[in-house]
């Protein structure tokens, strides 16, 4: 099995104060990490490789810092890394990123491409499905189960309301991975030692046959014009005081509202 996993380095904004500056947010004080969905994708790739053998390429579009998440993927069990970087990539929308990834992946003799179903920063959920179309192979996204057998991928997709769709498709294919599909392992010291000896190839967009106008804002069909703080439609009445006071107020309210 020749597996390609796409990973992205994203800021962790789940518990952080987010400050808007121009068309992006201030990122200096934010911790960065591998996109949570991508982490599950890497684990899935490693589990498939452990079962069926093969080779894993970890690929990311990003600056020098993106090497960190590629190395992380290599430490978890990836074999080689590819980083695609070029100043013209700034301002690319998800489609332009998919285009860039497709240009790199088409030269690999892959059986399976795994990506996160979406990313924690922009949350577009475009890359896996767009990438498959660009590569001309079948796809399934929001996978919560994946079995590879006899050149086919059997995928369980998560639908709304606790239902799953079971489908089968031919390889090569692209699968967008939903969280919870597996239990991602911790990075081990042995993994890090091995990763430090693995190659991370650096590719420019020209190596992929792309021009600066194909990517970035110029090569994107959607453009972020303006950011704003979401308007607050409703604000909870905050019960103040130490835990005992606050809990006591809450219990009283619950009684008053007839839910006790």
């Amino acid at each position: 099995m020749e597996i390609v996993v796409c990973v992205k380095r994203v800021p962790d904004t789940s518990e952080a104060d987010v400050v808007i500056t121009g068309k992006d947010i201030k990122k200096d004080d934010l911790a960065f990490e591998i996109n949570e969905w991508d982490n599950y994708a890497v684990e899935e790739a490693v589990q498939i490789k452990e079962k069926l053998g093969g080779n894993i390429t970890v690929i990311s579009v990003g600056d020098e810092e993106a090497k960190e998440v590629i190395r992380r993927g290599l430490a978890m069990g990836g074999d080689t890394g590819i980083r695609i970087d070029h100043p013209a990539l700034a301002g690319s929308d998800s489609m332009a990123i998919a285009k860039t990834l497709a240009a790199a992946i088409k030269d690999i003799d892959y059986d399976l491409v795994l990506t996160g179903a979406q990313a924690g920063d922009l949350g577009a959920g475009i890359v896996p499905v767009a990438l498959a179309e660009m590569l001309g192979v079948p796809h399934a996204t929001l996978a919560v189960g994946l079995d590879i057998e006899d050149g086919k991928a059997k995928v369980k997709r998560e639908l709304e309301g606790g239902l799953m769709e079971v489908l089968e498709m031919d390889l090569p294919a692209v699968v967008g991975v939903q969280t919870g599909i597996n239990e991602p392992r911790y990075v081990s010291i042995m993994g890090i030692r091995k990763a430090s000896k693995k190659e991370i190839k650096l590719l420019d967009i020209s190596d992929l046959g792309l021009l600066p106008k194909d990517v970035g804002e110029e090569g994107s069909l959607t453009v972020i014009e303006e950011l704003s703080v979401p308007p607050v439609t409703k604000v909870a009445e905050i019960l103040e005081g130490d835990p005992a006071e606050a809990a006591s107020k809450l219990a009283e309210i619950m009684k008053e509202k007839g839910v006790l």
Binding site: T13, S14, E15, V18, I20, M95, A117, G123, G125, I126, V127, P128, V129, A130, A132, E133, P138, H139, K156, R157, E158, L159, E160, G161, G162, L163, M164, E165, V166, L167, E168, M169, A173, T179, G180, E183, L221, V223, E225, E226, L227, S228, V229, P230, A236, I238, L239, P243, A244, A246, A247, S248, L250, A251, E252, M254, K255, K257, V259, L260
Partner: protein, 322 residues
């Protein structure tokens, strides 16, 4: 006259709510753009759906074929790309659902259309379409422009209200030849294994989030649930970590609940979770982060560590219940 396409979504004998939400959004968009609204319905034996959709759209475009009985992204893509190429709708709206996410990006690539996903707002300015979508864990709204004059947009569930259906749209059947699709085969639906508790039937629900930290902390919250006479539910990360079974998950990919009381413990309030509990009677949130979006959904909130509140709250409740 220009047309707006709205892709009707249905599953297991039912038109899904998102369809009507999109049709509501399309009505206003149509006014701003000078366009009519066309509900696009792909399926098999779907006359009843078509009739229902007629109240919400100017036209219902139906492609009826056994191959469209189940959603299959590949087949849907082929039919839709043919319809869109033929009719050139100015905007195509698709739900940002498991169904739409699996379809829209490929369709947009095939047709070379700009695609904005998971949108919560649509506006027209100078004849151009702008959408609003949320980024960075819902903490920022982004206004996004789409290039060109034909667009594709996926719409977040519950972002637009359902309007009353007052139209009597014309039902138009369209035959599209569907060749065999070699790649992808629908096998079936699978229900997540059912547990002993049906949270959708509960009057009192305590929802726990990632902040519960460890499965060993769950018994403490269970005690509170018992004191309330309620059941334990959770947000997605708790299920992802296998701390509670899937059938306890509240949210768009879990269950939709409407209890008398929803007590959110350490739940940040991602929209996917909120979609599953926002219609509860009384919503109370306990969270350490005063900026957690859950406080914009809750009626009452306590900004504190859930572990500090839960034991005392349990006592107070037991006390008051006598």
């Amino acid at each position: 006259m220009a047309e707006i396409f709205v892709l009707a979504e249905h599953r297991e004998g039912e038109l899904r709510e998102i369809t009507f939400e999109m049709l509501g959004a399309a009505k206003y968009l149509g006014k701003d753009m000078g366009a009519t609204v066309t509900a696009v319905l792909l399926g098999h034996d779907v006359d009843t759906y078509a009739e229902k959709l007629g109240s919400y759209a100017d036209t219902v475009l139906v492609v009826d074929d056994p191959k469209l009985d189940y959603f299959n992204a590949e087949i849907y893509q082929k039919v839709l790309s043919k319809l869109i190429s033929d009719k050139n709708p100015v905007v195509t709206l698709i739900g940002h659902t498991a169904f739409g996410m699996d379809l829209a990006p490929a369709l947009a690539v095939e047709l070379g259309l700009p695609l904005a996903t998971d949108c919560i707002g649509l506006e027209v300015d100078g004849g151009k379409l702008f959408v609003t979508r949320q980024i960075y864990s819902g903490k920022v709204n982004a206004k996004v422009s789409l290039k060109g004059d034909q667009y594709m947009v996926t719409i977040r569930s519950a972002a637009f209200p359902v309007e009353e259906g007052t139209l009597s749209g014309e039902i138009v059947k369209e035959a599209v030849a569907i060749e065999d699709v070699p790649y992808r085969k629908f096998i079936g639906y699978e229900e997540a294994p059912a547990g002993e508790v049906d949270i959708t039937q509960a009057d009192y629900i305590i929802g726990i989030g990632r902040a519960i930290g460890d499965p060993e902390n769950i018994p403490m919250v269970e005690e509170l649930a018992e004191a309330l006479g309620g059941v334990l539910a959770c947000s997605r990360p708790v299920v992802d970590k296998n701390w509670l079974p899937k059938d306890r998950q509240v949210g768009s990919s879990g269950k939709i609940v409407k209890p008398k009381l929803y007590l959110a413990l350490g739940i940040s309030g991602a929209f996917q979770h909120v979609a599953g509990m926002k219609d509860s009677g009384l919503i109370v949130a306990i969270n350490k982060d005063p900026k957690a979006p859950i406080f914009n959904v809750a009626d009452y909130g306590i900004v504190n560590d859930l572990f500090k509140i839960v034991p005392v709250l349990k006592e107070k409740i037991t006390e008051l219940k006598g």
